[in-house]
């Protein structure tokens, strides 16, 4: 295979090329695009989607799908804020994140029990819990915005890792919450690539039957996957809160399809067994770029959805076609009788 078709043979490759092409076109339209400031802005804007996506990638790799992640994130973030404001207990900001992750893990456990324990279909269960968690949040916890967030959250939101001026003299900064994405990315990468647990996830995603026969306890692994995905969603929720500096219970839900699109673009397959951290982050980056920078190019809002749709079809379809074509060529070039 030529090098081009080798790149095009993986979804990450297609996505990467599209991203480059896209950036090139944008920079032609607006020379201000190709600057470190733009990169930092994009990173900042992909934080929440990125964290969600890493959790969803784990689920997808195991052959499941999780559309409830955003509802878990919203619930965990709002509940955390309610608890903290309610008990008036002084704890460091990391405690906020841990509490939110714990609540997320609890909600994930319910997903896990329904899916792993009872063996129900993942799409049905998570569609149900998406509505359930959101309904519970709005009914029992409240519908009002919390703008009076603790001082600590504001301080955390204002402290930045990198701060620079862009071409037109405006400040661009990467907030501390970038570390959350980094932490989750490294954690998931280690888990998926260097632990037995990670291998089991891919094995189950590849073939549940085969995984069961080699002695993997599928139920237990599945429950744990959803607990971890829930905890990650909790972290994403809290990150969203620090970025927006307020707790809005109506936020987050609605972006789950964007998250799944990013993960699929990043090479995870809905059918399971595939998915990498790097690919997922690339997918997130491209989706964020499309969502936020088309404005710069003067493209109307509706086009963004159109472009993302095309990308998903091409990005996931092209590698499969190339793979099939390569196999076909291999077959016909094989000597007869071999």
């Amino acid at each position: 295979m030529s090098s081009v078709s080798r790149i095009l043979a993986t979804p990450q490759g297609v996505v990467f090329l599209t991203a480059l092409l896209f950036a090139l076109v944008l920079s032609l339209l607006n020379p201000a695009f190709f600057t470190p400031a733009t990169l930092i802005d994009l990173l900042r804007n992909s934080l929440v989607t990125g964290i969600f996506a890493l959790g969803v990638m784990m689920v997808l790799a195991s052959g499941g799908i999780d559309v409830s992640c955003t509802a878990i994130g919203a619930f965990a973030m709002y509940a955390t804020m309610k608890i903290i404001l309610g008990i008036d207990f002084d704890m460091p900001i990391i405690g906020y994140f841990l509490l939110s992750a714990a609540i997320g893990a609890g909600l994930g456990l319910l997903n896990g029990i329904l899916i792993g324990g009872l063996g129900l279909p993942t799409l049905i269960v998570t569609l149900g819990t998406l509505s359930l968690y959101r309904g519970a949040l709005l009914t029992f916890l409240g519908t009002t915005y919390i703008t009076a967030v603790p001082r600590k959250v504001i301080t955390f939101a204002r402290s930045v890792l990198v701060r620079m001026e862009n071409a037109v003299g405006q400040m661009v900064s990467l907030p501390y919450s970038f570390l959350v994405l980094l932490f989750v990315a490294i954690g998931v990468a280690v888990l998926m690539n260097f632990t037995m647990f990670g291998r089991k996830i891919y094995a189950i995603g590849g073939s549940e039957e085969a995984a069961a026969r080699i002695g993997i306890r599928i139920r237990r692994v599945k429950v744990l996957i959803y607990v971890i995905a829930g905890a990650i969603a909790g972290l994403a929720g809290m990150t969203h809160l620090t970025l927006s500096r307020m707790a809005n219970p109506f936020d987050l839900v609605g972006m789950e399809l964007n998250v799944i699109a990013a993960v699929v673009l990043g090479g995870a397959r809905i059918t399971g067994g595939h998915g990498t951290v790097v690919g997922t982050l690339l997918g997130v980056f491209v989706i964020t770029m499309i969502n936020t920078t088309l404005l710069m190019a003067g493209v109307p809002s509706y086009w963004q959805k159109f472009v993302i749709g095309c990308l998903i079809v091409v990005g996931t379809g092209l590698p499969i076609l190339i793979d099939r074509f390569a196999r076909h060529r291999e077959r016909i070039s094989r000597p007869i009788g071999a």
Binding site: N30, A32, T38, D41, N45, V48, T139, T143, T144, Y145, T147, A148, N166, V168, G169, Q170, M171, V172, S173, H240, L243, S244, R245, M246, N248, F250, D251, G254, N291, T292, T293, L295, M296, G298, P300, S301, Y302
Partner: protein, 353 residues
């Protein structure tokens, strides 16, 4: 539900659409029972010789939230002032079906007038028609499309409100420079009416100002408004003003302006609530927010209802004796006030919602 949707006049609400179907399936047996009950009670009520006091009940979208608590205070104030028996009820969740049930009960009780802030105007039409048939006066609010009402009270005319916001923006921008406008959704009727009127007014009165980026959609999400404002600032570094429509727009824009270190260089005005935009009013990123006071709307609705009971007509240019409704515009059954409230850093402490 103090989402700013609650402030959107014409009830173009997501929830409304969902609820519509439920109401179509409304149980006819219950309806018949309600009617029967209503007639029985009618006899009883007539026997107890009522004095001239009117019984007016206000049905709101949702009880227990700050917005409608404020309205309830207005209703209570009206009751105290006039001696009429004015009260407020509302369902525990913003559900049109529950509102239908409440109005059924009120028809059964044979109250003199019902004032209503519908979750879904269309879903309430049949039950309101029944109320009118029973001789009960009906006054709507945030529902100018309602057919089966005696009157509908709107805080303001959408176009006039848009012009008002633009005037505030233009004043602070010095009448020149680039500005951008946000709408919650490109399909949100009210938001578009505000913004269209504002843009038309700018073109006529402030030709030195230029609109950039067209109408920008925030999806009523603060983070979307934030991201798009950042893009705007980068693409149009000379941007001097932003007008928001959904309550989240100005907050997202303010966050972007603050982070970019441009506080004071970009004027932000728009519709929002103190409870949402408060922090940025205080720090100065947001110049002014507008909304209407639900307490005043509650009083105005009750006054109109009392007039209807007494057989008096509302006329164009009339003074309802409520702040913001001093010279109302009558368009068919719809009564428009000029009841917007402007809030800046200086008077934000007066509003707790």
């Amino acid at each position: 539900m103090v989402r700013l949707e609650a402030m959107v006049a014409n009830g173009t609400r997501k929830q409304s659409i969902n609820n519509k179907e439920d109401d179509m399936k409304f149980d006819f047996k219950k309806l018949a029972l309600g009617v029967a009950l209503g007639f029985t009670l009618l006899g009883g009520a007539a026997a107890v010789a009522q004095d001239a006091k009117h019984e007016i009940v206000t049905v709101v979208k949702l009880s227990g939230i700050a917005w409608f608590n404020r309205m309830e205070a207005g209703v209570a104030e009206y009751a105290e002032e006039t001696g009429n028996n004015a009260t407020q009820v509302g369902p525990a969740s913003a559900d049109a079906a529950l509102q239908v049930q409440m109005i059924e009960d009120l028809i059964a009780r044979n109250v003199n007038a019902i004032t209503v802030v519908p979750n879904s105007p269309e879903a309430l039409e049949p039950v309101l028609a029944k109320a009118l048939e029973a001789g009960i006066k009906v006054v709507g609010h945030e529902a100018s499309s309602l057919e089966n009402v005696t009157y509908d009270v709107e805080a303001f005319d959408n176009a006039a409100y848009g012009v008002h916001l633009m005037e505030a923006l233009a004043q602070d921008m010095g009448g020149e420079g680039e500005y951008a406008v946000f709408v919650g959704h490109l399909t949100a009727k009210t938001h578009n009416e505000w913004v269209d009127a504002a843009i038309a007014y700018q073109k006529e009165k402030y030709p030195k100002m230029t609109l950039v980026g067209g109408k920008i959609e925030s999806n009523e999400q603060q983070q979307t408004a934030y991201q798009k404002t950042k893009e705007l600032l980068r693409t149009y570094p000379n941007l001097k003003g932003i007008q928001g429509s959904a309550g989240e727009d100005v907050v997202g824009a303010a966050l972007a302006v603050e982070e970019a270190g441009l506080t004071g260089k970009v004027t932000i005005v728009g519709t929002s609530l103190v409870s949402v935009a408060g922090p940025y009013l205080e720090t100065g990123e947001i110049k002014m927010i507008s909304f209407w006071d639900p307490a005043k709307a509650g009083i105005a609705m009750n006054k109109v209802a009392a007039m209807a009971i007494e057989g008096k007509e509302v006329t164009d240019g009339m003074d309802l004796g409520v702040e913001g409704y001093n010279s109302v515009k009558l368009d068919g059954k719809v009564i428009y006030g000029q009841a917007w409230v402007d809030v800046t850093k200086d008077n934000m402490d007066e509003y707790d919602f």
